[in-house]
Symmetry: C2
Subunit: 292 residues, 2 copies
């Protein structure tokens, strides 16, 4: 079978053997924003047509391709839900050359009753339901970071922090970005930012320090972006992580390693899961569907 | 004499009688970013030349015109400092047709030792030193909101929150702005945002609710910008205001009235000072200089 994680900015396909092992990969920048309405079938054909010609008959999609801006809109599945519920809720997608189904996203409410949604992350999490302990906490950092609570082999609930998107907006569109230079994250400055996030005063106040520390020559231009990143991730971890938690990090390895620094500085501990969580989750759901 | 509050985006001049009353006003969008290096004398002449022709001989400037990007850079004055210290530290500015001086900004350190700076707000505050109680708390909301602590007739210290600039960056350059429509701030939605800011979870999490509430039809597009504003100002007030404080609000009246709603919702009380704080402060400093 073929599994596809089709997000806003990227297309990632995996050719999967019946034991779940990845026997082929394709990826491109053809995220859903790069596909014209009505052009999804052709886009899919272009990306994985070769595998279809070689006999693959089943394609399972997950991610923003199931949103209103995607191919077919799939209603969010309410938490608590696990792999069985995801498999039972897949949505059919019209396509000539293969059977195509789409894994729905999930919805939840936070402690204050405010809605939460995710698309794509639920599938990455599904790949970890069997291996995590019964009450595990997962963090999927990124544009919209997700903190996902598992209970009894299901997703019990989750919350989102806009950390990645806020970082980019602040860096590109406020005075803070003016003094920054491109380059690797300065890990020492990142940790200073994380530590600062734990002090008195809120994020809106801490942000101004990025400017004043630069102005007073107490923060180098090369270290400024790392410090800002530490401030934001420090605030996220400080708000979202229960004291002393053990966190499973899922996603881009470089970003996960920064989150691990922040989690440890805040008194928690973290393990970084392998990067193919989406492929594993697609396999888990496909198995419930009887596809493999 | 003539007092000028010359900021990043705006130029505001006041013609002041010896009793401090305002007998003339001029303002334009000729902030320092609209003035070429070397063009400040000409810009000032264009704005207030008429008053100079009528015999005015003294001009006192405050604001970002004293920054590195301005006309003449004035070093920040360290807190604690009051009107006497400001008057003693004014900086001379070369200008043919009148005697021109510039009020310096102030610097401080927050509880964590991180630097704080302001330019222009110190003059607005100077105008209130005589009328406020001995231990007063002032808030000057805006792009970079200032919370200023007075003690013994001086500025004891202050902190900055980047609330206004973050609001604009989020509204213009993140997914949150996509669903927003222009118009007046919806006061009910603003208050909901303030109340949400006081609940569990951090700002980065609360921000995502602007999107999900809209997605689930629980927040109207017309109310979305007000809710975001309430979230940000609620977080600022929650972090910066000591419990039950009495706050003097200084600045744009519409913005001050939103801050008053947030301050009262957070258990404090607020009075809105009149909008001519800069003119009053320039008078107070000029009096110490023997100009009036």
């Amino acid at each position: 079978m073929i599994g596809v994680d089709w997000g806003t900015s990227n297309f990632r396909a995996f050719r999967l053997a019946s034991d779940g092992s990845i026997v082929g990969r394709r990826s491109s920048a053809r995220g859903i924003l790069q596909v014209e309405p009505g052009g999804f079938a052709e886009a899919l054909e272009n990306e994985i047509g070769e595998w279809l010609s070689e006999g693959e008959e089943h394609v399972l999609l997950c991610g923003m391709v199931g949103s209103r801006q995607g191919w077919v809109e799939a209603e969010y599945l309410a938490c608590p839900a696990g792999a069985d519920e995801l498999a039972a809720a897949v949505v059919g997608v019209p396509f000539d050359r293969a059977e195509v189904r789409l894994v729905p996203g999930m919805k939840s409410r936070d402690a204050d009753g405010v809605p939460e949604v995710m698309r794509g992350e639920e599938t990455q999490v599904a790949g970890l339901l069997d291996t995590c302990s019964d009450d595990a906490l997962l963090c999927l950092p990124g544009t919209h970071s997700k903190w996902v609570r598992l209970h009894g082999g299901k997703v019990a609930g989750f919350t989102t922090s806009m950390t990645g998107e806020v970082y980019r907006a602040l860096r590109k569109h406020t005075i803070l970005g003016r003094s920054m230079v491109a380059g690797d994250v300065d890990r020492e400055a990142f940790l200073h930012g994380v530590e600062r996030a734990a002090t008195a005063g809120g994020l809106l106040h801490h942000l101004f320090g990025v400017r004043t520390l630069g102005l007073m020559d107490e923060l180098r231009a090369e270290a400024s972006a790392g410090y800002l990143s530490g401030l934001l991730i420090g605030h996220e971890v400080g708000s979202e992580m229960p004291k002393g938690a053990q966190v499973h990090l899922v996603g881009d390895e470089a970003l996960c390693s920064l989150y691990r620094i922040a989690i440890e500085a805040c008194g928690g501990s973290a393990t970084i899961e392998d990067e193919d969580a989406a492929a594993r989750g697609l396999t888990v759901v496909a198995r419930r569907m009887g596809w493999i």
